[in-house]
């Protein structure tokens, strides 16, 4: 029986500490220890992207990150997005374009989209499609998601040009 490890990290702006077994992955820790159910599990192989969260400013697969690896880190989940203007823009665009149906892929999609708009503000529609390919959606067929992300990119480019 492995020893529990105590970890301390910042989650959505609040510090949190807990004792976890080393094998517990980050998303299970967030869902079960912290009680944040917004990040989802779809495969646990790192392929579907439903578990995508942000650690130290970068998106990662929560199922391929151990909770113990998050010790000392800044973690952000979908629950922490409404506080951020760029994320809110994305959420509003997603709602407007109905870029979500069942909602299960949506937290991961928003995480991935947010990193795109931060790091690739001039992305073309094709580049948006390529970037978002790390997140599986079975409901939308992706067109509306791409529309939503492109709309936010366009609006932000207009805002920064102004």
């Amino acid at each position: 029986m492995a020893d529990l490890q105590t970890i301390r990290f910042n989650i959505n702006g609040q510090t949190h500490s807990c004792s976890v077994p080393p094998r517990l992955h980050l998303v299970d820790m967030l869902r079960d220890e912290v009680g944040l159910k917004g990040s989802h599990l779809g495969c646990e192989h790192g392929v579907c992207g439903a578990c995508t969260v942000e650690v130290n400013g970068r998106i990662v697969r929560g199922c391929l990150t151990l909770a113990v690896q998050a010790d000392g880190c800044q973690v952000r989940t979908v629950e922490g997005l409404a506080a951020l203007p760029d994320a809110r823009q994305l959420q509003q665009a997603f709602i407007k374009h109905n870029a979500l149906q069942c909602g299960f892929c949506t937290p991961g999609m928003l995480m991935a989209a947010r990193e795109l708009i931060q790091h690739k503000p001039d992305a073309t529609r094709e580049e948006v499609r390529e970037w978002m390919s790390g997140n599986y959606c079975r409901c939308t067929g992706y067109h509306a998601i791409v529309d939503a992300v492109c709309e936010v990119l366009a609006r932000r480019n207009q805002e920064s040009a102004a």
């Binding site: 492995a2 020893d3 299970d28 970068r58 151990l66 113990v68 690896q69 991935a112």
Partner: protein, 291 residues
């Protein structure tokens, strides 16, 4: 699927990691980015009793030019390579390949050293290392060992690393003015392990190829070079005759293994298509350089 139980230690230094490796042998696994290891653990394909997390060892980070080579630390993430100006300048092949590695979230965590030590025959970095005749730098309790790429990949997911060795960095020769690099892979979905992929490095002498390196991914148990075909290219211009010779030579030299949906014959055919396309690309670039 939940991982089986294991103990976990965050190594403080390379020597700490090495001493742990020595005492635990094959019961321990190195945790770097974890993008391959943790997936295998989640599927219970592997049951180590200890994970040695090297993620806090700063000595394993960083990209620098030293001793006439580009040294990329083992913990450099794929995204860091993608963003590195030094890599863009000195090893542009890596920049051509990096966009094919999985997806952004994986690239933010996955590492250069991890990918090379894992030696997946369809992965991009082992293939690029081979194409550039890079060198693996390993540390063991007895000191440093340098292993040429050509000797490093020994079999399916198998490398020349000893059980008590840690890959700490890899070195790549610096790109020269007359070097041309090309990379293409064929995958049904962006980011998937490719059906076939080719990393090509041609060094020109005027309009003629002085030397060539062709490294392949997805065709066998390990990444491979095709030395006969490479030798054929030496001294030849990039014309239709050369292309035909290259294709014929590859058909003899390659004997790809089938995968779930592609026979060896399909892979061989696709390999020749990749070669033709990269040669055409190289030719177009040289024409525009010459113009």
């Amino acid at each position: 699927m939940k991982s089986p139980e294991f103990d976990y230690i965050r190594a403080r230094s390379v020597s700490h990691a090495l001493s742990l490796l020595t005492s635990h042998g094959d019961e321990a696994r190195i945790l770097a980015g974890g993008q391959s290891l943790l997936a295998a653990l989640n599927m219970r394909l592997s049951e180590p009793s200890l994970l040695i997390d090297i993620g806090a060892i700063d000595a394993l980070r960083g990209v620098q030019v030293s001793g006439g080579a580009l040294r990329i630390g083992a913990l450099t993430t794929h995204t860091e390579i993608e963003n590195s100006a030094l890599v863009a300048q000195h090893a542009p092949l890596l920049k051509l390949a990096v966009g094919h590695i999985a997806h952004r979230a994986i690239r933010n965590s996955g590492t250069w050293g991890g990918s090379i030590a894992n030696a997946d025959p369809a992965a991009e970095w082992p293939c690029c290392l081979l194409a550039l005749d890079g060198t693996v730098i390993a540390q063991n309790p007895r000191g440093e060992r340098r292993i040429a790429a050509a000797e490093f990949f020994t079999g399916l997911y198998t490398t020349a690393l000893a059980e008590d060795e840690l890959l700490v960095a890899c070195e790549l020769p610096l790109a020269q003015r007359d070097d041309w690099f090309g990379f293409q892979e064929l995958a049904r979905r962006l980011g998937d392990y490719a059906i076939a992929g080719l990393a090509m490095n041609l060094r020109f002498s005027g309009p003629v190829v002085q030397s060539a390196r062709l490294a392949w991914l997805g065709l066998g148990a390990k990444p491979m070079r095709t030395p006969q075909t490479e030798a054929l290219l030496a001294g030849r211009p990039l014309d239709a005759a050369t292309e035909a010779l290259v294709v014929a030579s590859l058909r003899e030299e390659l004997d790809p293994l089938a995968d779930l949906t592609n026979t060896g014959a399909t892979k061989k055919h696709l390999a020749t298509v990749l070669a033709r396309r990269l040669l055409a690309q190289a030719n177009a670039t040289r024409q525009s350089v010459a113009a």
